[in-house]
Amino acid sequence: MSLMRGVVAALAVSLALVLQVTVFPHLAWQGIVPNLCLLVVVGAALTRGPQFAAVLGFLAGVALDLAPPADHVAGRWALALVVVGYLAGRVRQDVRPTAMAVVATVAASSFVGTSVFAISGLVLRDPALGVPDLLRVILVAVVWDVLLTPFVLPLVMRMFQALEPARTA
């Protein structure tokens, strides 16, 4: 079962990544697209807890770092999504999260995730961008992710729940 879960999770992340770089640029606002990989990781965190989500976050991040057309220093999205998976997993209660809780978690995760990525860039001097530019991108990204939450998160969470029959939370 856990192998099955891993395969499905990897497929979900790959699908999210491909959609993110091919389909969504047509809808992007100044190149900023919803971070579907982050949404999948948050969905995993809310259903499966921090351990699984951190591992999935690492894999999704490495994929984001390496798949074309990525050109930043590899490992930065991996770091960001590990943190996101862990933190979002800590939010999970033993009751089903309400819709508001999910939206709030996504917003916080998106902010933390993109911020960690941006800060790692500041440390490495990878993008020579100013803090106001970074903040603008981070905030627009949060809005995008929250807008996509009602369409993506229920799907992702139902998927991970269906792969988890033994858990009685």
């Binding site: 993110q20 591992v55 590899a74 991996a78």
Partner: protein
């Protein structure tokens, strides 16, 4: 019902075992959720940091590059396939805007327009170039180059703060790193790395991109830096080498070119001067350039290859013929 209960109990088994262990170790009631896998988190964070260090200090020949290429070989064709699959749908808005034949007219006129514009834009440059031609006969070959046509299939998210795109032509099409990428409006960028079927192109608006530029009117040279913004507000900064020279508004900037045309061939129009700032303290001139290329809606591009390159697709030769 009975079966259901059984499953329920099996699920709880793990927890029972946990409780027994706690009793043996004599520890108090630890909340399972308060300490979830701290060591795993540390391991993953360390793995990420290792990856960053490897790639950051490795530079161009870091071990990460081969991983990048491997992942690219897998994801590249998938991205190309998806982009091809959705292309009919991204064209849907156009159907509502105008009828098919009008659309064709618009496309034809746009193509003609950008051809004429690029002719007009390089007129100054060409005139100056002709005057200096005596010493430049060696560069004659540079004027004619072949193009491998390709389509943009994926754009990096702005959240990654780097402006790079994937095109659907790779090493099989004769593309190598450090080749110039243009479209019919002007300079797009340069090839960073290739897989067998795709290539990653760094756009000139990226903050890492530096292009040698030449003001067509005065032949002054300088360096063009990207600002990292792709939309309508995408601009380049031009720093002139000669501080006393002031570029005029609406002057055209073309590429200056490098040896063997790598990474940029000479004479490709880049953009138009929109404003000039001079800093008295640093005694430099900084001009803001509005690029001709609309980076928000990149689609068909051409990669400049040496004439006669072997390719898996039709190559547009310097004289306009297809091969």
């Amino acid at each position: 019902m009975g079966l259901d209960k059984l499953g329920h109990r099996t699920a709880r088994l793990g927890r029972f075992r946990g409780r027994r262990e706690r009793r043996w170790s004599g520890a108090g009631r630890l909340d399972e959720r308060s300490r979830p896998s701290r060591s795993l988190l540390v391991a993953l964070v360390l793995a990420s940091l290792t990856l960053i260090t490897l790639d950051y200090h490795g530079g161009d020949d870091s071990p990460v590059e081969s991983a990048r290429r491997g992942v690219g070989e897998v994801f590249g064709p998938v991205e190309t396939g998806t982009a091809t699959a959705i292309r009919p749908f991204t064209a849907v808005p156009d159907w509502f805007r105008s009828r098919g034949d009008l659309n064709d007219d618009v496309a034809r006129l746009e193509a003609e327009n950008s051809r004429l514009r690029s002719q007009a834009a390089t007129a100054d440059y060409d005139r100056n170039r002709l005057q200096e031609y005596d010493g430049l006969t060696a560069a004659a070959d540079d004027l004619g180059y072949a193009l491998v046509p390709a389509r943009v299939v994926a754009l990096g998210p702005a959240q990654s703060f780097s402006d790079a795109v994937t095109i659907d032509a790779g090493s099989r099409a004769g593309i190598r790193p450090d080749m110039t990428v243009i479209n019919n409006d002007g300079l797009v960028g340069r090839v960073l790395r290739v897989t067998s079927t795709t290539a990653t192109v760094l756009l000139v608006v990226d903050t890492d991109s530096v292009v040698g530029g030449r003001v067509g009117e005065s032949m002054e040279v300088g360096f063009l830096h990207g600002r990292g913004v792709v939309g309508d507000a995408g601009r380049l900064d031009l720093e002139l080498v000669d501080e006393s020279e002031v570029p005029a508004k609406h002057d055209t900037v073309v590429t200056w070119g490098s040896e063997d045309g790598a990474p940029y061939v000479a004479g490709v129009p880049v953009g138009r001067v929109t404003s000039v700032y001079s800093s008295v303290r640093e005694s430099t001139q900084r001009a803001v350039i509005d690029p001709y290329v609309d980076f928000g809606s990149l689609d068909l591009v051409g990669v400049v290859v040496p004439s006669g390159t072997h390719s898996d697709r039709a190559v547009i030769e310097a004289d306009g013929s297809m091969r």
